[in-house]
Symmetry: C2
Subunit: 216 residues, 2 copies
Amino acid sequence: MVSYTEENYLKSLFLLSQGSGEVGVNELSQHLGIKMPTVNSMMKKLREKKLVVYEAYKPLKLTARGKKEAGLIVRKHRLTEMFLVDIMGFTWDKVHEIAEQIEHIASPEFFDRMDSMLGHPTVDPHGSPIPDKNGNLVWKQYRSLLEVTAGETVKLCAVINSSDEFLRFLNARNLQLGTKIKVVSVESFDQSMRVSYTGHSDEMLSKIVCEKLLVE
Amino acid sequence: MVSYTEENYLKSLFLLSQGSGEVGVNELSQHLGIKMPTVNSMMKKLREKKLVVYEAYKPLKLTARGKKEAGLIVRKHRLTEMFLVDIMGFTWDKVHEIAEQIEHIASPEFFDRMDSMLGHPTVDPHGSPIPDKNGNLVWKQYRSLLEVTAGETVKLCAVINSSDEFLRFLNARNLQLGTKIKVVSVESFDQSMRVSYTGHSDEMLSKIVCEKLLVE
DNA sequence: TTTATTTGTTAGATGAATCTAACTTTGTAG
DNA sequence: CTACAAAGTTAGATTCATCTAACAAATAAA
């Protein structure tokens, strides 16, 4: 049995591991908003449960089992976000908090139902991939908008940070997944970009914004 | 702030109060499957929070605030059951457990959305009324099938016990809300009833079953 | 009305998840 | 290569929800 709290630790560890594969206690502590000693003892507990590989002063790693558990939670989270948008009519900036709670519901049928009502989606409303039924996750290799050169036209496929604030920033500029963006020019000084897309022929995006937009 | 656990106490108290209005610690303890001393201390806590009227050795009562809080949780539970059946295609015997978890989700918009998708339903899939947005609940005054005399035809409007087992018993006999039931004869010895309805011209129902079927 | 049963309360222990304060290891900047 | 900062650990306290054991009150039965 994995508790609500333990699920949150696994999920964070899973998400933080996406790049490097190894995560520090401090990093995890920050991400969860929980103090290091608490994280420390939880890691010992999760080690006992064979969900995490933990040795003092070494970086943290999920075991295969831990990875699967965590992947399935992320699956539930992302399916829920998709459900909230596609079936219930929420906008993409309102779904995170709700999904954060629903991801802990214990009922495979409930999520299977969502999955089939949605037609087995592979990405959530922010373009993040939905892990499969074994908890496996693969990111398509998108480029960040930052890597695109002037003149190119690309399609917005995902956003990295899905905080309400950032999403509302995008809403305000009518930027949504699927939008075809043409990079008009790049300011080499601060890496801000002048872009154009349907309905917006001249929009400025800062480096901070560009690096969070994944395109292909 | 009312915790997940506290919500469950309030809800049970609310449901048990429906008839009498007053509930004993023992009764509540049984209903929640939690030992009396635990219930006892929780009552003291809920008294501090002005949700329950509690005095040693006196029966328990919800305050107006407590009644509202509890009513809103029941509202969330029943809206969820309705949503699971009408929107997600679950059968009425599969929804209780899931609703038991979803009722604790903190998101008014989520339940408002359900409510409007369902067209503001007034009863759940078992015929129990859904409290309004202020947590107020009124039961229509149905009769139990037990009170119906031979020869009468009535409509099944609600079931009292919504355990999986009982609901599957009804499924197996094709008895659902709305079914028009004709009472053919009543066995005065054990109060079992011979009834007929569409597709079932001769079905026997025990007293135990009849008293749980609410009709009009 | 005395006694027995049921119901309710108090006291004290436990486990989960959290914290702060103090200490230790690791790794990096002089 | 020391020394200092950052990261990690240990120890011990706190809060919440739960339990068992023992005691007290209320109620029902004899």
